[in-house]
């Protein structure tokens, strides 16, 4: 997915509805900016191929 494919406003509308999150209209531009920035930063991790045997670092010790 290229950065251009990511519609942060549409994503926000769908995700907020799914989560029962009310976002004031005045806050939406800043939240959209943050979603776009997060997408841009996350891409560095998401684009990096990892072997199947790499487990998540967050672990649980019973």
């Amino acid at each position: 997915m290229s950065q251009d494919d990511f519609d942060a406003a549409a994503f926000m509308a769908a995700a907020a509805a799914a989560m029962g999150l009310e976002i004031d209209a005045a806050w939406k531009p800043a939240v959209i900016d943050n979603l776009q920035r997060s997408r841009q930063i996350a891409k560095a991790v998401l684009d990096f191929p990892l072997p199947d045997d790499v487990e998540p670092a967050s672990s649980f010790k019973p």
Binding site: A16, E22, A30, N34, A42, F48, L50, E55, P56
Partner: protein, 462 residues
Amino acid sequence: MIDFQSKGHEIAAAVRNGKISATEAVRVALARIDAINPQLNAFTAITSDRARARAAAIDQAKDEGKPIGPLAGVPFAVKNLFDIAGLATLAGSKINRDHAPARADAVLVQKLEAAGAILVGALNMGEYAYDFTGENVHYGPSRNPHDPTCMAGGSSGGSGTAVAAGMVPLALGSDTNGSIRVPSSLCGLFGLKPTFGRLSRHGSFPFVADLDHLGPMARSTLDLALSYDAMQGPDANDAWCAQRDVEAVTGKLDAGIDGLRIAVADSYFAEQGDAEAHEAVAAFAKELKTERRVTIPEAGRGRAAAYVITTVEGANLHRERLKTRANDFDPAVRDRFLAGMMLPADWLVQAHRFRRWYQARVAEVFKEVDIILAPATPRVAPKLGQVMMTLNGVEMPVRANLGLFTQPISAIGLPVVAAPYADRKGKLPIGVQIIAAPWKEELALRVARRLEQSGIAASFAV
């Protein structure tokens, strides 16, 4: 006998030797706080009565010949995310004012007081620790004592302000992505972010359970070592606290650096940041007689992984507050949390998987070297209120990017001493990260000690 410039170990020695009383040490600290805190805004609560009572008890114990501890009489203060019995734990927020007062002190406060140190108050911080600036919309900014029109750095901003202004010789902060190391750099202090899991976080308000660290900030390496030793030890009440015995460093601080393999981080850490940041690293490297370079592989992606984990897990912590009291957040914090709350689970899991891969690669680097030097911040303190900054010709937000050199290191929990470059000639301070392999705090502290003794690293109150 003592004044605002006195280091913690100097005060402790004076009390131990009977040259001053603990009561006098507390009086000096409270007088300094009264005189300059109104201008610098480091404290959100001053626990004067408690401190005086504690000091009197120490003086009485000394008179009776009882042991008084290695930090006896040393005033200290803590970022206001540490529990203090009788006070609501604010964590920099307006919302937490409604919380019930803490019933007990945080574990690390208890441990420092058991060693004789005396709590004098709670310190300002960026809201819920999601901050590198030390600014706070509810309580006002922590101001940088070296230039009160500049940021102290965050999120442990009040900790930086209080120690750099000589209100206390020792403060505790927290560091999830750089919140001890950034204010240490901008305020010209020594700061220790121990290995993830080394010090108990029980009784502190969390931010990101997978990344939160607690640690000391001071104006000398010996004060870091003494306080760190007092705070070590396992704690079953913190699920991530390692079940390790105390590995005391104070007695080893002067063991020297012979045989240590020291290198400067290149690539990511050399390609960004102002010249001043790199001059400090070069000066330390020269003093340590190393020209060796080393690459921390994929550090930029390590930072990205920490960013994702922070924004998603931090938002999750506040999910109910974001639904019911969103108006009461600092808008800059709220809008980032709202975005973080909605990011896909897949991104978070991939960030945690990347972190595992990255940890293994960096462990290989530490087979070749013992210490890595890197800038602590990409620049000196920005002006208060400054939103954007230009680094290497690229304009970027201050708030997110002051931690661009600290975030890849805490992402995998490595121990770091932030050490201030001495040769600033009236300019604003800047610091260097001295990074060691997990559980090797001693090595980072020994290197910092050497730099301090040579005079190339130095911290003084202003």
